[in-house]
């Protein structure tokens, strides 16, 4: 195995593209090192991207924020601007692992790990965030929603790395929230999760809603129908119940050591309902 | 003679009794007499037994004296955590 700390995104992409064996990109390392320890992968090449200039920065851009791929989630949580604009994205990112893991793990890493249970991903998808990708052929932008391709898989091509994630601007009276279910209060992988991003009209009714569920299908699931049910309402109980059922309808989870199909499905609806109420209150909605 | 209380699963080895009488002044004598009188008890006694004497549990202690009026209970040898 070789370890290389790349100096530019181009260098990183070139190294990765040139290596015929298994490669891993190292940002926070909180997934990669676990894979190494378990013997799950034995990469020929590890490319550390943290030394790439600017990759550890959070920068304001067009009313939104560009989050470098090596920004540890702890730093994200310390950034007042991002927290104010996308509180649901930040709370998802900040739920990953322990304080120790927070000091290292990144949203881009969580995305590229390809787990349907990644806590940062539903919030990013609900936010319509966009990943900037550098590759041997140059740079491209891609909606975060289109990056995961199934457990452990992404749509990234050989040699491509995510260099930043862009969180767009949002209008007034808009906010988001993320909830996950875990058996303990900390340290677990989500058994089911839900991110809800809402935009309210002046009268306090929901103008637009985007609901994204995690850990209930091979990738995160955008619950479009459930989102539409919220539009024009102030989240009355009957609407929320319908919305929860609509969420359950799009779940296609698995039975495993962490939860059953029935439990995951039911809990995804419950979490979406609870997260919607939090997002609604954050957006200034009053019932 | 001392009365010895056996636990339930030893009954089959002791003519169906859960209380037997043997002549013994010490724990060791008691075990020897039990094996002589009820050979079916030997495998368990070889594996290990504890002895409760008036409510105090002894795990080994051959020479523990047993008064004739003492309460004597045989128990499996215990290991712990």
């Amino acid at each position: 195995m070789r370890y290389v700390a790349a100096r530019t995104a181009k260098e990183a992409a070139g190294l990765l593209a040139a290596e015929p064996g298994v490669t891993r990109v190292l940002a926070g390392g909180t997934d990669v090192l676990v894979q190494l320890k378990s013997g799950l992968v034995e990469p020929e090449l590890i490319v550390d991207i943290k030394k790439i200039p600017g990759i550890g920065d959070i920068t304001a851009e067009n009313g939104g924020f560009r989050i470098g791929a090596a920004v540890p989630n702890a730093a994200l949580g310390e950034h007042a601007g991002v927290v104010a604009l996308w509180p649901g994205v930040v709370e998802g990112a900040n739920l990953i692992g322990s304080t120790q893991v927070q000091g290292r793990c990144t949203m881009a890493g969580n995305l590229c790990n390809g787990s349907p249970a990644g806590d940062a991903v539903p919030g990013l998808v609900a936010a319509n965030a966009v990943a900037r990708i550098a590759g041997p052929g140059g740079e491209r932008d891609c909606p975060v929603a289109d990056v995961p391709a199934g457990p452990g898989k992404t749509t990234l091509k050989t040699g491509e790395i995510v260099t930043s994630i862009f969180l767009p601007a949002r209008p007034d009276r808009a906010s988001d929230a993320y909830l996950r279910f875990i058996p303990r209060t900390e340290m677990d992988i989500a058994v089911a999760s839900a991110a809800v991003s809402l935009e309210l009209a002046a009268d306090g009714t929901v103008k637009a809603a985007r609901i994204v569920l995690g850990a209930v299908a091979p990738t995160v699931v955008v619950a479009d129908e459930a989102g539409k049910l919220l539009v024009g309402t102030k989240l009355d109980d009957a609407t929320l119940a319908r919305m929860a059922k609509a969420c359950e309808a799009v779940c296609k989870p698995i039975d495993d050591k962490r939860g059953t199909v029935a439990f995951r499905t039911r809990t995804a609806g419950t979490l979406a309902r609870r997260a919607a109420l939090i997002a609604y209150a954050r957006a200034g909605g009053k019932k | 003679m001392v009365k010895v209380r056996l636990w339930g699963s030893l009954r089959q080895a002791a003519d169906g009794e859960t209380e037997v009488e043997v002549k013994a002044k010490t724990f060791k004598e008691l075990l020897d007499r039990l094996v002589e009188t009820y050979p079916g008890l030997e495998p368990q006694i070889r594996r290990g037994v504890s002895l409760s004497l008036d409510g105090v549990i002894y795990r080994e202690a051959w020479f523990t004296e047993i008064r004739p009026d003492a309460e004597v209970v045989l128990m499996p040898y215990m290991t712990g955590g």
Partner: protein
């Protein structure tokens, strides 16, 4: 020992909260644990483990591994001798499979190499030809005739005919006639329960460093609860003489019963003998979960009859325990403990041990008791609810006390259950109001406590300080409590005593640190060793004063004439006598070697408040109080620590911890990520109330405190969750999917 050991006294040192002697080393990172030892020329040992739950090993080809540069030794089961003794053979075969791999993770080969990378590469070169056999991992399946047989020919003579060969032993305890008792009951509840296997979850993986010389002398450093037992097992497996094998216990990073046997130590010794160099083996966490000694998993049926006034009229339990692929006697202890808290006329427990394709069980804090008592205490709580009775009142009405014929046979001497229940009843926690949707559960718990073989040597240094040498690894602060007892007996300050844990060559045999025995049994030996030293010091003073030794007594840390007739001499302190010891006959010491009996049983009562989220099945623990009879609390902080730690392990067991096996018989969750021990944010403070009902079998009245605390949480939580959720739960852990399912929510 006898019940007249205890003498009431005013304590000066015992009962104070002194600083532990290992404290500074442990907070600065200097303390040496199992994995911290090194030796010149040390090799790294690694173990190859079976990926199959049950498989015949047709052959193992180690040639390629042996040929790999840097590999210095390769070991398989064929390298270890045949053993006559069942017990030793089981331990050895568990350390290194022979003929069959009996569970996922069972060791099948090992290597020693110059570094970890080479050792890892060598393991990949070992080719094992497996014939996969049908497996069985669940006790209820394994007990049925026709189930795959894990080990043939291991059923004891007490197993009824017609059962599966997996049933290795049967036991029955009790008195009276339960059927008659049930006939008198106003209400009978009969329920079946299941508990998952759990792991002790010590944070320090097993680690050892073995060095065997060509002249047959060997040294072994390891983290263990009992270096002497390690020596016994390893000497038998290696065919060595005990005197040639010195075992030194490192600081131990948690054990809870799980480090009372060997897993890697004989392997390291055998590799070292083959390689002619020291070999260190450190387990990974994955190995710890798959291949050390979790507790039994169980299936139980409980039937209890109760009269309207709360009196239990009859009680019966059928317990089916599985301790994995080798026979074990844990169900015997469960069957004895099940109804120990109650004064019953008609009680019977039946137990069966059943083999399954799981790792060989090791002890875990009060082994066997938490499961059976969980089931019993759950049924009692249900009866209380059905009959509209207060759960503490019902337990008081039936509580065992002095003179009660216990459900396991002996008549109880002085015990503390009634006092413990009364303390719980009058505690503010019990009467605190509960909010809507919250539930309160209580449970009693019981453990026997052990004594056992204990050797202590106590040296009076010429500067007036004292060194105590004992042979039990300090797992919960015992060096502090032993120093306290030595200081108390000698009448000197705690700070003038230093207690160390000896290697196997320095003292006679000591039983393992188990059964909550150390403060009780080693404490007793320490007190007697101190008394022996006091006798010598009194003799020296007598010589100096020119009077009879009988005319000198020890008071407040000094020799004094015993009464006016003995003569008028100023007191001679320990330091003064020690200072002239060379001139008065030589160094002064006291020692005591004994197999201690007279352990006092201990009872606990726990109260817990919870709130169940009925939409997710998640349980939040809101408030927790532990009441336990410790006998004399030598170091109250460490007694509290045992009570709190036991309670939290029990909370984990009740709510989330479990061994999960897949259909392929492989362990699904061998990580701390998915084997979910409680984290700090899961818990409230754990309040403690220590009761000090003296144990008549100890000079200071000490009972054991280490184990009882893990017994009550299982039922206390289950009863609280059941009351909060409005349903009756009968399976552990009460993980959210299970609770939500019981609520009909999924």
């Amino acid at each position: 020992m006898s019940l007249d050991e205890y003498q009431k006294r005013e304590f000066k040192q015992v009962g104070t909260r002194v600083r532990r002697p290992d404290g500074v080393d442990k907070v600065t990172g200097r303390a040496m644990y199992g994995a911290d030892a090194t030796a010149p020329g040390m090799l790294t040992g690694r173990i190859l483990r079976s990926p199959h739950a049950h498989a015949r090993i047709r052959s193992i080809d180690t040639k390629a591994a042996e040929a790999l540069p840097g590999v210095k030794a390769v070991l398989t089961g064929a390298d270890l001798p045949a053993q006559e003794d069942d017990f030793i053979r089981d331990v050895q075969d568990n350390c290194m499979a022979r003929g069959k791999a009996l569970y996922d993770g069972h060791a099948v080969a090992a290597v020693a190499a110059v570094d970890a990378a080479t050792a890892k590469a060598a393991l990949k070169l070992i080719k094992v030809d497996y014939e996969i056999l049908p497996h069985v991992t669940e006790v209820d399946v394994a007990i049925k005739p026709g189930a795959p047989v894990v080990l043939a020919g291991r059923s004891l003579e007490n197993v009824p005919a017609g059962m599966s060969e997996n049933v290795t032993s049967h036991c029955e305890f009790g008195h009276g006639d339960p059927a008659k008792g049930f006939a008198k009951a106003d209400r009978i509840v009969e329920r079946s329960f299941r508990t998952a296997a759990t792991h002790q979850g010590y944070i320090e993986p097993h680690a050892c460093l073995a060095s065997v010389s060509s002249d047959g002398k060997a040294d072994l450093w390891c983290c263990t609860q009992g270096q002497y037992f390690v020596r016994t097992l390893c000497a038998a497996i290696m065919g060595m003489e005990a005197s040639q094998l010195r075992v030194t216990a490192s600081e131990i990073g948690g054990g809870f019963g799980g480090k009372t046997t060997v897993f890697i130590e004989p392997v390291a010794l055998a590799l070292s003998r083959k390689a002619g160099r020291p070999v260190k083996i450190v387990m990974t966490r994955d190995e710890v979960f798959r291949a050390t000694g979790p507790t039994v998993h169980t299936s139980m049926d409980i039937k209890i009859g109760m009269a309207k006034d709360g009196r239990i009229t009859g009680a019966e339990a059928h317990l089916r325990y599985s301790g994995g692929a080798f026979p074990c006697g844990t169900v015997d202890m469960g069957a004895q403990a099940a109804f120990a808290a109650y004064d019953l006329d008609n009680v019977r427990t039946y137990g069966w041990n059943v083999l399954t394709n799981r790792p060989k069980e090791a002890a875990y804090r009060a082994p066997g008791a938490p499961q059976a008592i969980y089931a019993v205490e759950s049924v009692i709580d249900e009866l209380c609810q059905d009959l509209g009775l207060d759960p503490i009142d019902v337990r008081l009405k039936n509580a065992a006390k002095k003179g009660t014929k216990s459900s396991y046979g002996p008549t109880f001497p002085d015990i503390g259950l009634v006092a413990t229940l009364e303390a719980a009843k009058k505690h503010p926690h019990y009467s605190a109001p509960l909010a809507e949707g919250q539930g309160r559960g209580i449970s009693c718990g019981f453990w026997f406590n052990f004594g056992g073989n204990s050797c202590v040597s106590l040296n009076i240094n010429t500067d007036g300080t004292v060194g105590v040498t004992e042979g039990n690894p300090d797992i919960g602060g015992s060096r502090a409590s032993i120093s306290l007892m030595a200081a108390e007996e000698l009448g000197i300050d705690y700070d003038r005593v230093r207690t160390i844990v000896a290697d196997t060559s320095s003292l006679g045999y000591n039983d393992v640190t188990d059964g909550s025995r150390v403060t009780f049994a080693v404490g007793l030996a320490t007190i007697k060793a101190a008394r022996a030293a006091v006798r010598v010091m009194c003799e020296r003073a007598a010589k100096i004063w020119g009077i009879d030794a009988d005319a000198v007594e020890w008071k407040d840390g000094a020799a004094v004439p015993a009464g006016p007739n003995a003569g008028k001499f100023p007191p001679m302190s320990l330091a003064e006598i020690a200072a002239v010891s060379f001139e008065t006959g030589g160094p002064i010491a006291g020692h005591h070697e004994v197999n201690v009996d007279g352990a006092g049983v201990s009872f606990g009562v726990h109260i817990v408040d919870v709130e169940v989220d009925k939409e997710t099945g998640a349980t939040k623990v809101l408030r927790y109080t532990v009441f336990q009879d410790a006998g004399k609390a030598v170091h109250p902080s460490y007694v509290e620590g045992q009570m709190q730690g036991g309670a939290v392990q029990g909370i984990g067991w009740a709510l989330n911890e479990e061994y999960i096996y897949g259909a392929d018989g492989r362990l699904q969750n061998p990580t701390f990520l998915d084997y979910r021990v409680p984290v700090a944010s899961d818990l409230p403070m754990i309040d403690t109330v220590i009761l000090e009902i003296p144990n008549p079998g100890h000079p200071y009245g000490v009972r054991g405190v280490g184990e009882t605390g893990i017994v009550p949480p299982l039922a206390a939580l289950s009863n609280a969750v059941s009351r909060s959720a409005g349903i009756r739960l009968s399976e552990l852990p009460m993980s959210p999917p299970r609770v939500l399912k019981a609520l009909g929510g999924s």
